[in-house]
């Protein structure tokens, strides 16, 4: 009986599925309607700032084209597909666009990671694709006959940068720091290949996971290598943090160089504020470029969008112009004809001359800019330079003093001894460990009392970060002071969650608890995404970047403060659990819930109280993170979830002192691993320790579990 029902149900679902799928349009090509060009870019998600800059470029070009009568006497229509900054979405966007036979070409996507596999899809489906901005050399190396790239590839970025470093800056010892993505590794790989030929020695070659919360160990490692120049290949959020933390650990190379992307957007100037000054970067185009019309174009752009044009907007502007020009020359929007016409493009533009070689690559020259007085100024190549570069970069300690006291003095090599390197590593590891501990403590008391592994813990840290951000930005409340508000508020949120949701699964099998808390995590993260978008928000406290120095070791003051506050909160929690009646009730419940119940303890109250305390600790950690990491985005808490699990297992599930020890052990191990082994495997080291402890000594390092 019930089986019949199930099968009918299945059939019904299948039919609904069929009906949904059928609504997909089936259109025939027509030769009267508008000409359709597919656009793929990142309008939402982590790269949305670039996507929006790209969209401005498309809108500029579209207005010009349609304003002068369209193409072939027909208006042009852009079909936007938002890839949400995700590779697989970009790939299916190509498939979607191909399906409408009226789409005659595709321009996109934004990032290298999304464009590289998407180009393969476009080529397979035989639709022309123009790549405006993705620099990875792999794209044109494949020999796709349907793919054309407008911008200069990574190898050209690197060639120009190395030429500048040797001829313009006389720096020979280079450290390459790159994000472990398609974009980062393609630029870094080109640097590795070209350095010997340019007479440059690569003294450090470090990959990092984008979006990491702390780069101090990585930068410490660079500092000990005594590099003359550092080449960062990074996106916006990381570029900002790398520069701020370079200041914190007093890293003083002759040149801070960036490989475009994060180092070339107006938002970088805002995010990194004073630390952006003197950084140089490769750029595909500048408003003061020498090509005819670029100044006028920049002025028109600024007055239209009230936004400074970066090369990202020009690339898409030019790409659309190229496609429109090709359709006009082809005399038809038929895909093969458009492809042949794009191949034969010869155009002089504000982006320079455009001509594609047999591999579909446009030979586009790049320039180098430096941030001077809070503006990007072209300093290289010599023919295009507006101003001479200010090099070597002034020491952090000398900045801000008597401006105009002449050229900065030649710097002494600021190498650190191996003892200092070790101390620096231990110090930053311990300080980070204090925050890990605070997050872990929340998780551990919840587990100790309720036997619930809270998968929403990282998301709750994120809630604390947003609360702190808004208190600081709109009410001017200092992050440390905001603890007074954030902790009680988070406590209330915890109690509410416990009473409404968690309570009903306490007696259910543990898998339901895992899934419920995971569900809460998904809801929290996506609510933040809807409310605040995926863009990260930055804040700068007055003491940001302030450091104290002990024996040549530089310690960030906000980090030191956060560590101290984390210790104090831990101590208070510990005393509360050990010395107060309520604390005793909590511990009694943790040891034996049923016995505690028989002895008259109101278990439900204890459980609600515990969950509230755990969430308050997570929120406090969020507050303390803000002055250190400067930024928050909806997924900011995700890395902390896994770390909290590791901390708790290290210390023994349910043990407060254990979580403190576990947090510091994890912080120090990661830091040592990043400095002495490899930044890329930093997180893997944590996982290995985690598995070892789990399998060999599941009660944790201290050997006792429970609160």
């Amino acid at each position: 009986m019930s089986l019949t029902f199930k099968l009918r149900y299945l059939l019904l679902v299948a039919l609904v599925c069929a009906a949904t799928a059928c609504r997909h349009r089936e259109a025939a090509p027509d030769d009267t309607g508008p000409i359709r060009i597919g656009i793929i870019t990142s309008l939402t998600g982590t790269e949305s700032r670039f996507g929006i800059a790209q969209r401005y470029g498309y809108e500029m070009a579209l207005a010009e084209i349609n304003g002068s009568g369209g193409v072939l006497g027909r208006p042009v229509e852009l079909v936007y597909q938002d890839d949400t900054s995700k590779v697989e979405v970009a790939m299916s966007a190509v498939e979607d666009l191909v399906e409408d036979p009226r789409t005659c070409a595709i321009i996109g996507a934004y990032s290298s990671s999304a464009t590289f596999p998407s180009a393969a899809v476009a080529n397979r489906h035989r639709i022309p694709m123009v790549v405006p901005s993705a620099v990875t050399d792999e794209i044109t190396r494949q020999g796709y006959p349907w793919v054309f790239r407008v911008c200069a590839p990574a190898s050209v970025y690197v060639r120009e940068m190395l030429r500048f470093l040797t001829e313009g800056a006389r720096a020979r010892r280079l450290a390459v720091v790159y994000e472990n993505t398609q974009f980062g590794s393609s630029v870094a790989k080109a640097a590795l290949e070209q350095a010997p030929g340019a007479g440059i020695e690569i003294v450090s070659f470090e990959a990092y996971d984008p979006g990491s919360p702390d780069y101090t160990p990585l930068l410490t490692r660079i500092k000990s290598e005594n590099a003359e120049a550092i080449f960062f290949v990074s996106y916006l959020a990381d570029a900002t943090l790398l520069m701020r933390q370079s200041k914190e650990i007093d890293l003083n190379p002759k040149v801070f160089a960036g490989g475009g992307a994060g180092f070339s957007l107006p938002d970088f100037l805002r995010g990194a504020s004073d630390t952006a000054e003197y950084t140089i970067s490769v750029t595909q185009w500048t408003p003061d470029a020498l090509w005819t019309g670029s100044r006028e174009w920049s002025a028109a752009f600024r007055s239209r969008f009230n936004y400074d044009p970066s090369y990202h907007s020009v690339q898409t502007y030019i790409s659309l112009k190229i496609v429109a020009d090709a359709i006009a020359r082809a005399g038809s929007p038929e895909r093969a004809a458009v492809r042949d016409a794009i191949k034969a493009t010869e155009m002089d533009s504000i982006f320079g001359p455009v001509r594609f070689d047999e591999k579909g690559q446009n030979d586009h020259p790049v320039a180098i800019t430096q941030v001077l007085g809070g503006r990007f100024v072209t300093i290289w190549p010599q023919g295009a330079a507006i101003q001479a570069p200010t090099l070597p970069t002034p020491l952090w300690s000398e900045r801000g003093r008597a401006a105009g006291s002449g050229a900065p003095e030649a710097q002494p090599a600021a190498a650190i001894t191996s003892a200092q390197k070790f101390l620096q590593t231990m110090a930053s590891g311990t300080l980070t460990g204090g925050i890990y501990a605070l997050i872990g403590i929340g998780l551990t008391i919840i587990f100790g009392v309720m036997r619930v592994v809270n998968f929403a813990h990282g998301a709750l840290v994120m809630v604390g970060m947003y609360a702190t951000y808004f208190l600081f930005t709109y009410l001017g409340v200092d992050p440390f002071l905001s603890l007074v508000v954030v902790m009680p508020a988070m406590f209330a949120l915890g109690v509410a969650l416990e009473k409404t949701l968690i309570q009903s699964v306490l007696k259910a099998p543990e898998r339901n608890q895992v899934l419920l808390t995971e569900g809460i995590s998904i809801v929290l993260i996506n609510t933040a995404l809807l409310l605040f978008t995926a863009n990260y928000l930055t804040m700068t406290t007055s003491y940001a970047g302030k450091t104290a120095r002990f024996w040549g070791v530089s310690v960030s003051l906000p980090q030191l403060g956060a560590f101290a506050v984390a210790l104090v909160i831990t101590a208070i929690l510990y005393l509360f659990l050990m010395k107060t009646d309520t604390g005793r009730r909590i511990r009694a419940t943790a040891q034996d819930g049923e016995a505690a119940h028989i002895l008259g303890i109101n278990i439900r109250r204890v459980q609600a109280l515990t969950f509230g305390l755990g969430v308050a600790a997570a929120g406090a950690a969020g507050s303390l993170l803000m002055p250190i990491y400067y930024r928050v985005e909806p997924t900011a808490g995700v890395p902390f979830s896994l770390k909290a699990f590791i901390v708790v297992v290290l210390g023994g599930m349910g043990s407060v002192t254990g979580a403190l020890v576990g947090g510091i052990v994890l912080g120090v191990t990661e830091s040592l691993g990043a400095v002495y082994i490899s930044t890329g495997y930093k997180d893997a080291i944590g996982c290995v320790i985690f598995l070892l402890i789990l399998t060999l000594k599941p009660s944790g390092l201290l050997g006792r579990s429970r609160v």
Partner: protein
Amino acid sequence: MKKALKISLPLLAVFLLAAPFVLQARYAQHVLILILLYVALGSAWNILGGFAGQLSLGHAAFFGVGAYSSAIIASKSTLSPWLGLVVGPVVVLPVALVVGWACFRLRGPYFTLATIAIGEMARLVALNWRDVTGGAVGIVIRPSVFSGTDKVPYYYIILAIAAVTVTLCYRISRGKLGYFLMAVREDEATAESIGIDTSGYKLRALAISAGITALAGAFYANYFLFVDPAIVLPLALSVEIVLMSIIGGLGTVSGPVLGAVLLKLSSEIFRNYFKDASLLIYGTLLIIVIIFIPGGLTGGLKKLPGLRPVRRLRAALARR
């Protein structure tokens, strides 16, 4: 009941076989392929997670091994990436044995946490072992045998994989292995005390589950023609596989099937109609299901028929 099956199953079979001809839109075919892929993944996970009660959140690791097998064959040799369908499950076996050895001594949440760590390590290895995996860059696979533009052949391949997996689950659930696994799930200590080699049976469940997951991974690589760590090895994939089994009903044959159909379909609909809010709705649904229908839509977790699991088991053993 038998009669209902006799009528419904052929109907379903005809529908599934005819589907790509009825639904010619490429997007519709893509959604069907995804649904069948997740039917296979959910059913495979269910053998370990549902029947044996071992809540693994690391199945993305097995999926990734399968996907990378195909991709590495394609990038390092001139052989067809379809060979990954054989190589993936073979390579995943020793991996599964090590995972089983390390994790099966752990109980409850400890086991789940360990599997998360294993999935994360697999991702980090793929990200950093650049010479072989291409690191974050990933591997673009050239289509082999089929053109890569027509979806119909891919549909029939994944249909076959899903059908075999579901049939296998049915056989397991009605056979001795299924009874042993359910005994382990309901009371591991008692099961052990009457002489069941609990670790042995858990390992068998893991091996079958991991093998099918790797097979599905290899198929995915051939279908999608691109792999990178963020696509084939994220924690979110492990979570999604578990979600559909639980929402459908844990430990039943039809549960993961129903869960995969509903979840994939609704996530596509949400994605089209609610854009940014789609995951929010997804998460809310998850919470509602856990709180109000904890057994999942099909009732879930079929207890061993009969009075007590152990008695039933003795009977099963006696028949042996």
